[in-house]
Symmetry: C2
Subunit: 348 residues, 2 copies
C-alpha cells in the first residue's frame, strides 16, 4: 500500500512489496465513474461553490440524506475532487473551475456524451472486441449512418473544446487580405470552424456533418456571431461533393474512427478539394511511436477498438504516410499542451 | 497534464495549472474495469507468463486478433499492468504474482464476485442512493435472506484472504493446553476459522452462514485438512442459536453490512455466547477518525451505501462504543499491513 496525501496512487515502481491495490482499484474503477456521475447529477460541486460546506447544509441543498451525503463527500475527497477540513468540505481548484455550474468552464455536461449508453455499451465485452479486432456492439459501431450519438456529442462536448479550438485558430495563420474558404468536416458542435471565423473576418466556413448535428453547429454559429459566414453541407464525408478551392480543411476528432485504407481514400478526396497551397488540419489523439505515451493519447486506441470496426489512435508516422500516399507534400506535428490532443498541418 | 513514467498520475497537488485529466480519467474509469476483466477472461497474463511476449504470439495463444491484442497490451501497459520493451510485453512483479494462473497467489477469480451483476448493479444510480441514504437495488440489497451472491463470494474470494487469515490466527494467540471453541460467523469460504484450526490442534470450529455457502466452507475444511474439527450451523446470525462457551467468535467482513443499532443487538447476542475471558475478533475496513484515510478503507463506505440499507465503514471509535454498549470490557485495534483491512480484538 502506498499513499500520496489522501489520494490512491498508481505507482510504476516495481521494486516495492507485492500489492493487490492496483488490481482492485482497476477492477472497482467503474465505481468511480458511477460516483462522479452521481455527484454531477446531484449538482454537489455547485452546492459547495454556493457556500454549503457541511453534510447537513449539502443534504438540504441537494435534497439528499445526510448519511448518503457524508459518504459521497468522503469518497470524492479520497479521490481528489474535494478537500475535507475538520467536518467541512471545499472544492479543489479543478473542481471549482470545471465541475461547478457557477464557473464558465463547467464541463459536467460532457458526461451526457461520455457516459451515453452507446459509448458505455461498447465496453460491455472487451474480450470479444480483442478476439474479433473491432466493435461488437453492431457492425459499424458509432460510425454507422446518422448515429444519434453525434448529436449528443455536439451538445455535450462544446465547453471543453473552446480552448483547443481557439489555440488552433491562432496557430494556423491565414492571409488577411483575400477571401479564405474553410471546410469543417464532421463539424459536430462546429466550434473549430467557428473559432476560425471569429479570428479571421475574411474567412467563410462550410460545415459538414449529419443533418441533425448541423442544427447544433448552426445554433452555435449564431451564438458566436458568425452565422453570416457559415454554410452547411449535410451528409456523409465519404459520399457528398465537397466542392473545390478550399484553403483549409479541418479534420478534428474524425480520422481516428476509420482504418488506414478508408482514411487514405478520404484524404485523396480532401486533397482534390484543396486549392494549391491549401492545408488539411488534423486534431486527434496521436501517441508517440512507442504507442504507450502520452497515456491519454495512447489509451484512446481502446475506445476505437471498442466502438468502431477499424479505428485507432494513429502515430504521427502513420498519419504522415497516409497523407503522403494521398498526395500531400508534407505534414508537421504540433503540441497543444495542456490538451492531450495534438495537431497535424498537412500541405496540399 | 502530468505524467509519471507511463502511468497516469492522480496528483493531490492543487498548485498546478488547471487540468481536466482527473475528471476524464474518473468519468472513463469504467473502461479500466472492462479492460482488466477482458484481459483476465482472455487469460492474457498467463499467456505472457508462458513466454508469449509478442502481439503475434499472444494473438495466436489467446485466439484473438493481432489488432485487438496490440491495443489491449498497450492499454494495460499505460495502466501499469504490463511492461513494453521495444515490441515485446512483459509482466510486472504484481501481474506475475497475482494475475497469472501459473502463480499460486492468482487472484483473477475475484472478479467473479467483485464484478458480479448483484454488486455492479448497486452502482447504477448513486445519486438515488445518496438521496435515500441506502441501496436502491432492493429493500435489503446484498444482505437479503440467502442472497446467492455470498456463494459467489465464498468461491471467488478465498485466494486473497489466505494471507490475512494466517496473520490473524498468528496474532490471536490461544492457550495450547485445553480445548478451544471458535465460532466463525458469516464464515463464507471458511478460511478464517480454518486457519485457526490449522494453527491450533486443540481448537474446534463452528462455522455459520447460509446453508449453500457452508457447502463451500466444508469443502475448504476438507481441502485444508481440518474437517474432523469443523462443524457447521446454517442460518441467519440474527436468528440461530449460537450455543454457549465460545473462546473466540470471528466477525470477518460482516459487521459493515449493518446499521449501528442492528450491530449492537448482534454484539449482545455474541457477548452472551462467549465464555468468561472470551474474545470477539473483527476484521473489517476501518478508516481513521477523519473518514478519508487510508483511502481503501475510507472509500469502502460507498460500497455499503450502494449495496446495503444501512451498512458503513465504521471507525475504531464507533466500533469500540458499539462493543462497550453490548457488554464488552475493552477493544484493541491492530494493523494487518499490507492488507488494507484492520482487526479489532474485543474482550468479553
Amino acid at each position: 500500500m502506498e499513499y500520496n496525501g489522501n489520494v490512491m496512487k498508481n505507482s510504476a515502481n516495481q521494486s516495492e512489496q507485492p500489492s493487490l491495490e492496483r488490481f482492485f482499484n482497476t477492477v472497482n474503477a467503474y465505481q468511480q465513474t458511477a460516483v462522479i456521475k452521481g455527484a454531477i447529477e446531484l449538482d454537489l460541486f455547485t452546492a459547495i461553490a454556493e457556500g454549503n460546506t457541511t453534510v447537513e447544509a449539502l443534504a438540504a441543498k441537494c435534497n439528499a440524506s445526510e448519511r448518503g451525503m457524508r459518504i459521497i463527500c468522503d469518497y470524492l475527497t479520497v479521490w481528489g475532487f474535494l478537500i475535507k477540513t475538520n467536518e467541512t468540505y471545499g472544492l479543489t481548484q479543478d473542481s471549482a473551475l470545471f465541475l461547478s455550474r457557477l464557473s464558465p468552464a463547467y464541463a459536467g455536461s460532457t458526461i451526457e456524451f461520455l457516459l451515453s449508453p452507446m459509448i458505455m455499451d461498447s465496453f460491455k465485452d472487451i474480450a470479444a472486441s480483442v478476439r474479433t479486432g473491432g466493435t461488437v456492439v453492431s457492425q459499424e459501431g458509432t460510425v454507422s449512418h446518422e448515429n444519434p450519438v453525434w448529436s449528443r456529442f455536439a451538445r455535450a462536448m462544446l465547453p471543453i473544446q473552446i480552448m483547443p479550438a481557439q489555440m488552433i485558430a491562432n496557430l494556423v495563420q491565414v492571409e488577411p487580405d483575400r477571401p479564405i474558404k474553410l471546410l469543417d468536416l464532421a463539424a459536430g458542435h462546429g466550434i473549430f470552424g467557428i473559432s476560425f471565423a471569429q479570428r479571421y473576418p475574411n474567412l467563410e466556413v462550410v460545415a459538414s456533418d449529419w443533418a441533425p448535428v448541423l442544427d447544433v453547429a448552426r445554433e452555435n454559429a449564431q451564438k458566436f456571431g458568425v452565422s453570416d459566414r457559415y454554410k452547411t453541407l449535410p451528409g456523409s464525408a465519404f459520399e457528398i461533393d465537397f466542392g473545390k478551392g478550399y484553403d483549409i480543411i479541418l479534420l478534428t476528432n474524425f480520422l481516428h474512427h476509420f482504418d488506414q485504407e478508408t482514411i487514405i481514400k478520404l484524404l485523396v478526396k480532401i486533397h482534390g478539394a484543396l486549392q494549391t497551397n491549401g492545408r488539411a488540419i488534423t486534431l486527434d489523439f496521436i501517441p508517440d511511436e512507442d504507442r504507450i505515451s502520452p497515456p491519454t493519447a495512447a489509451a484512446f486506441s481502446m475506445m476505437m477498438l471498442a466502438s468502431t470496426p477499424g479505428g485507432d489512435a494513429y502515430t504521427f508516422t502513420e498519419y504522415e504516410q497516409m497523407f503522403r500516399q494521398a498526395g500531400f507534400s508534407r505534414s508537421e506535428l504540433h503540441s497543444l499542451t495542456p490538451s492531450p490532443q495534438r495537431m497535424i498541418i498537412s500541405y496540399g
